[in-house]
Amino acid sequence: MPGERLPTMEVPVTARMIVFGAAASRDWQPQHHDHTWAVERAGTRDIFLNTPTMAGWLERYLTDWTGPYGRLGRLTFKMRKPMCAGDTLVFDGVVEEISTGWVDVALTLTVGGEVATEGRARVAVPAREGENPWVRERWDP
């Protein structure tokens, strides 16, 4: 139903999580592993989560909700504030629209009550019992 809320998910950020995400996404830009560079050159509080890892966390948040048949079709997000070690990320989602086989979800990630990332996702879900979005013939995300 439009307006349905996805369960809130809280994730504490650690330096290990940031560096692990950067490594897993093969992103060795210094602001994601080098504290001195992050503070002195990038002007941020500390090293911060990179964009690809954020995409991974958002996909995980969505598929925790849909289960394995949920298939991400489109994901858009803006990272408004750097997310650093010591922050607790609070993921929230609200169903905006439902059409046959598709759910559009508005995503908000807050830290200390302030929006750190916001976005939108279009996720394919079974159009009817037994339908599998992963083998859907007409794929139009």
Binding site: V11, M17, F20, G21, A23, A24, S25, R26, D27, W28, T51, P52, T53, A55, G56, W57, L58, E59, R60, T63, D64, P68, Y69, R71, L72, G73, R74, L75, T76, F77, K78, M79, N132, W134, V135, W139, P141
Partner: protein
């Protein structure tokens, strides 16, 4: 004297960024799941994989992982840059800093272990010079199109960026 580049010379420009330097494989997929604590059985349970996707696939959000160049390889003198067009724009317009303001992924054919991607970058739009809290700069949009070894569309990433010069810099 350096002349200001013309926006119309850059918009629509495409760059064949070539083939990804890593092959899709479980050795990259597992750390991704570990880093994002993703328990989706689609990536852990062989029976679920067989039933739903006909075998293992990579999480679609990993798209950009497969195009990021190796930081080092024998004989490579100068590191290859991911999003080369973004860096070329920064250089051409003399805007040394850059941030991603919005990232969009549209996902198509899933990638499976053994697949590799081919990447094309293109410049969709370049905005006028504007002043922000960060400094003076321009917004631009770069699309990155991924295909697999069969030429099938895997996904398109759209990066909205802001290239700028810090206020304190002359």
């Amino acid at each position: 004297m350096k002349t200001e580049p013309r926006i119309e010379d850059w918009v629509g420009r495409t760059l064949e960024a070539g083939e990804g330097e890593v092959v899709v494989e479980e050795g990259y997929i597992r750390p991704w799941l570990e880093a994002t604590e993703n328990a989706n059985p689609l990536y852990w349970d062989e029976r679920v994989q067989r039933e739903i996707t006909g075998g293992p696939i990579a999480p679609p959000s990993m798209l950009s992982v497969w195009m990021r160049p190796l930081n080092w390889r024998p004989g490579r003198v100068k590191a290859r840059r991911p999003l080369e067009l973004h860096f070329l724009l920064k250089e051409a317009f003399d805007l040394p800093e850059g941030v991603v303001t919005e990232n969009e992924m549209t996902l198509h054919t899933p990638l499976r272990p053994g697949d590799h991607v081919r990447v094309q970058e293109s410049i969709r739009e370049i905005g006028p010079l504007r002043e922000t809290n960060l400094g003076v700069g321009r917004k631009w949009i770069v699309d990155v199109t991924y295909t697999n070894q069969l030429g099938e569309l895997v996904g398109v990433e759209t990066y909205r960026m802001f290239g700028y010069k810090r206020r304190s810099e002359p």
